[in-house]
Amino acid sequence: MAGKKAVVVEHLKRDQMLEVVSKGKRLDGRGLLDMRPISIEIGFIEKANGSAKVRLGNTEVIAGVKIQTGKPFDDTPDKGLLIVTAEVLPIASAYAEPGPPNEEAIELARVVDRGVRESGMIDLSKLCLVEGKTVLAVFVDISVLNVGGNLFDAASYAAISALVSAKMPKYSVTKDGEVKDTGKIVALSTKLIPVSITMAVIDDTIIVDPTLDEEAVMTARITLTSADKSILCAGQKGCAGGFSTEQITFAADTSLKKGEAVRQIIKKSVERGKKKR
């Protein structure tokens, strides 16, 4: 799908890009391990339980959280549900087509899901109202508004920010198992702020937060998500190339380090969002 564009980029910019990277720089002036500017607007979708609009460079993503009652899965009758979806909206790129999610969008949703789920930031057993019958379902729906490289991190930051700032009705359960909305609003209980950091290999060098042009020439990609300063909780290698053992080690270190910086940005944005409301 992105074939034609990729070819053009390769011919025009490939040499140029390889040259600057070999000198430890990037075409946009960043250092190899610098993220682009991140801006996070909390509560953009007032009707959602939680929402965040994230700009990472020129990638733009909205995540909305909806929390509704539902039925638990048969094999986890005492746990709430977490459902993450992602769509690259057709407004976002000349190469995005309307229709059911393709494998890229499915991978995107699943990698974000993994970061949320495996970090344990949400205790799903606390979302059970009536075992085997009624639980809370947390839907995290991600819409990509503009494709500008590194969808994984932008989508992840949007999802995490939306979850951390989410509010929901407090439910009570009557003796005979009826679920009632008490009318009170409480925060969705979350622990930790998992942060994904995506890295790419260009000319055997690892760079952080690739742009769309860099993605067109990268040979491999890896996303590593940290649950906190010292714990890695999710990972995904992508693209038709590979990493050396040393590069994997370096990527793990980089994820933990850069992740902590992004974690502070998310925290501050959520704090700022709370004040505004």
Binding site: K47, E60, K66, L89, P98, F139, D141, S143, N146
Partner: protein, 240 residues
């Protein structure tokens, strides 16, 4: 029976019967799109983008003497009170069709033979009247894309609440009210290109609502012009 209009003739959000909700428009908001616009219409938040003219796939769908126009009106899962299933609903498919038909008369499609022009409308948050706001945003995005046009399309609805004809119903008014009539007009060509009706109007109310909606469309049109002017000569954002 209905508390949609109070004793002073004001609506739940304080508006008069013939008053529009606050409107905000911005042109050229998306980097990748050939043209784009963003509209806030009350609590509606809608992004429209245009891609094209571009090659048609599959090729046999192309038309030798003009461009084909494609249009998708789509609601994000988080845009509605209860989460919306991501798959396109029958409602979205119908609205995509009437919006396409509302926009097509503004475009000089014969200037772009054998190509496709795609209009995508994404409702990020919906609050009654999203199809009208969607038409208005899409028309701005088409202008922003530099497509040859003979007019803009401006949309606004009028309806009936608590037995009274009223302009621009919001979600609650739409659901609890008696009737709703979304409209889109081409102000310069003097044409109605979108009209739907849900609910009961006497013949007279029909006329009143139609005229009220037309007035609303004209106000929207002024804001559209302002937004385009701002984009190309000014600071890029307009509020009403």
């Amino acid at each position: 029976m209905s508390n949609l209009v109070n004793s002073k003739g004001l609506r739940q959000d304080g508006r008069k019967l013939n008053e529009l909700r606050p409107i905000k428009m911005e042109v050229g908001v998306l980097e990748n799109a050939d043209g784009s616009a963003y509209i806030e219409f009350g609590k509606n938040k809608i992004m429209a983008a245009v891609y094209g003219p571009k090659d048609v796939h599959p090729k046999h769908m192309s038309v030798p003497d003009r461009a084909i126009l494609r249009c998708r009106y789509h609601m994000t899962p988080f845009s509605t009170d209860t989460r919306k299933n991501p798959a396109p609903s029958r409602r979205e498919i119908e609205i995509s069709k009437v919006i396409r038909e509302a926009l097509e008369p503004t475009l000089i499609l014969t200037d772009y033979p054998r190509t496709a022009i795609a209009v995508y409308i994404e409702v990020l948050q919906s609050d009654g009247g999203s199809r009208c706001a969607g038409v208005s945003a899409a028309s701005l995005a088409l202008a922003d894309a530099g497509i040859n046009m003979t007019d803009l399309a401006a949309g606004c609805a009028a309806g009936k609440i608590a037995g009274k004809v009223a302009l621009d119903l919001d979600d609650t008014e739409d659901k609890e009210g008696d009737a709703d009539m979304p409209l889109a007009i081409l102000p310069n060509l003097g044409k109605v290109t979108l009209l739907q009706l849900d609910g009961k109007f006497t013949r007279k109310e029909f006329e009143q609502a139609f005229n009220l909606a037309k007035d609303g469309c004209m106000k929207v049109y002024e804001l559209q012009r302002k937004a385009l002017t701002e984009k190309y000569f000014g600071k890029g954002e307009v509020e009403a």
